[in-house]
């Protein structure tokens, strides 16, 4: 199991994360990184589809609470994550495999660090169970 590297998908809001960096440079450091305008744009279907396609975890990075360009898209996503975790558990997918962090990082240097941190946590869970 030591060589197991979890397959993570990371969505991040362009308003709060990495907007001062070159997207190309950052994306070379983060596998399956999907910068998006507003975390509130992430439909529950996208998250579930990531798991269907074999993701071991999904990390969502949104803007700090109370500081969304579109009023409350980040909190909308937080609510969705709570509902999604319950549904994923019914499918045998541990809730910890879906995380949301609301913060800000213009340089985006923390994105690869947060992906690495979640990756390490997922390693303890092991690969997602098979169908």
């Amino acid at each position: 199991m030591s060589d197991y590297e979890p397959n993570l998908v990371c969505f991040s809001c362009k308003f709060g994360w990495g907007y001062l960096s070159e997207e190309d440079t950052l994306s070379s450091q983060i596998k399956n990184w999907i910068p998006i305008i507003c975390s509130g744009k992430i439909d529950a279907t996208y998250v579930v589809d990531a798991f269907r396609r074999g993701a071991d975890g999904v990390l969502i990075l949104g803007c700090p609470e109370g500081d969304c360009h579109y009023e409350d898209g980040n909190f909308e996503m937080r609510k969705r994550v709570y509902l999604l975790r319950k549904v994923l558990e019914a499918y045998g997918i541990e809730g910890e495999r879906l995380k949301i962090e609301l913060s800000v990082d213009p340089d985006g240097r923390r994105i690869p660090q947060l992906v690495r941190k979640m990756s390490d946590e997922i390693k303890d869970l092991g690969p997602i169970k098979k169908i």
Binding site: T45, R80, G92, K130, I131
Partner: protein, 329 residues
């Protein structure tokens, strides 16, 4: 033999409600029976499977198949009818999406067998007998259909030409579908023979829906005396109308029961459950995460509520169990 178009009506894993809906065509069924030759309808008439096997490929004009596929007999019948038919119509929520029996996909086959043949309080099974596909009795081999790992929709087993969901589908939509075949006025292959809008668009209570729904708490229908004219969501009662296809004639709404999703997702949506999650999240009126938890935790079995009729057709299809399972289909 006549030259009338041949029609087969067959049930697989089904309660019989879809066949009953065909019977509910009432007088119109006599016109249908005049216009076509029914060559198979196990619930109503006596035909033999070997007569179907003897037919030529594509000899049947239309096969109306209801029910899900969970065992080898159902799979065999579905494949036989596909081979012999020009058009296959998946009738009812079970054939289209797995239906309520599809909720079994949240459990494993092992869980189900252990409960039904060992652990349920009503079971007395001291020898620990479980049904086997093959067993020797007095030097003879007896066989049973094999029970598969999970519930399948019809289109996970055979190619399906048209879909008509509902639990059960309304008789008028069934008649429209049969007439469309007889008159050769069918829409493109793969179409669902219902309106394409969500239920909210045709719901008589729509005008009572406030501009912005805000749920402070969630109630279950039996816990309250629901107003018979007001939008269920406005009353804090979960209703799947926003994420469900219309065409049912608002049958549940009219008897003061919220939509439970039997018509499946609206046109172009694969997974109605995740769409309803997005919809529900946006109408939860909570100030912080604690309040979200307080409201959401009152929902018993959220996943079962979202996928009451459609789990096998959902994006994730079934519970993950561990190592790869030997899925037969």
């Amino acid at each position: 033999m006549t030259n009338k178009p041949k029609v087969a009506i067959c049930w697989l894993g089904s309660c019989g409600g879809c066949d009953e809906a065909v019977v509910d065509l009432n007088e119109a069924i006599l016109q249908v029976a005049d216009a076509v030759e029914i060559i198979l309808w196990p619930i109503a008439m006596d035909f033999k499977y070997h007569n179907i096997e003897a037919m030529g490929d594509n000899e049947i004009t239309l096969s109306i198949i209801n029910g899900h596929v969970r065992n080898s007999e159902q799979e065999e019948m579905a494949k036989l009818l596909r081979k012999k038919s020009q058009i296959v119509l998946a009738l009812g929520s079970c054939a289209c999406f797995g239906g309520t029996p599809g909720l079994a996909n949240f459990r494993t086959k092992e869980d189900i067998f252990n409960w039904v043949y060992r652990d349920a309080p009503t079971v007395i099974n001291p020898k620990g007998n479980y049904p086997q596909p093959e067993v020797q009795v007095g030097g003879r081999e007896l066989t049973l259909p094999e029970f598969y790992e999970d519930v399948h929709t019809l289109d996970q087993v055979i190619d399906v030409d048209y879909y008509l969901p509902g639990c059960p589908p309304p008789p008028e939509l069934i008649l429209n579908a049969i007439n469309a075949v007889l008159e050769e006025k069918l829409p493109p292959k793969g179409s669902t023979l219902t309106p394409h809008k969500p239920l909210c668009d045709t719901c008589p209570r729509n005008e009572t829906k406030p501009d912005r729904l805000a749920l402070k708490e969630i109630k279950r229908i039996h816990e309250v005396d629901a107003d018979p004219n007001t939008c269920f969501l406005a009353q804090g009662i979960l209703c799947l109308g926003p994420a469900t296809r219309t065409g049912c004639g608002e049958a549940c709404i009219n008897i003061n029961i919220p939509c439970r999703g039997c018509f499946g997702p609206v046109e172009g949506v694969v997974d109605g459950g995740t769409k309803f999650i997005s919809s529900l999240a946006s109408i939860l009126d909570a100030e912080d995460e604690e309040e979200v938890k307080r409201v959401v935790d009152t929902i018993d079995d959220l996943a079962g509520y979202l996928y009451r009729f459609s789990l096998p057709a959902s994006l994730l299809r079934r519970r993950r169990v561990g190592e790869e399972t030997n899925l037969k289909i």
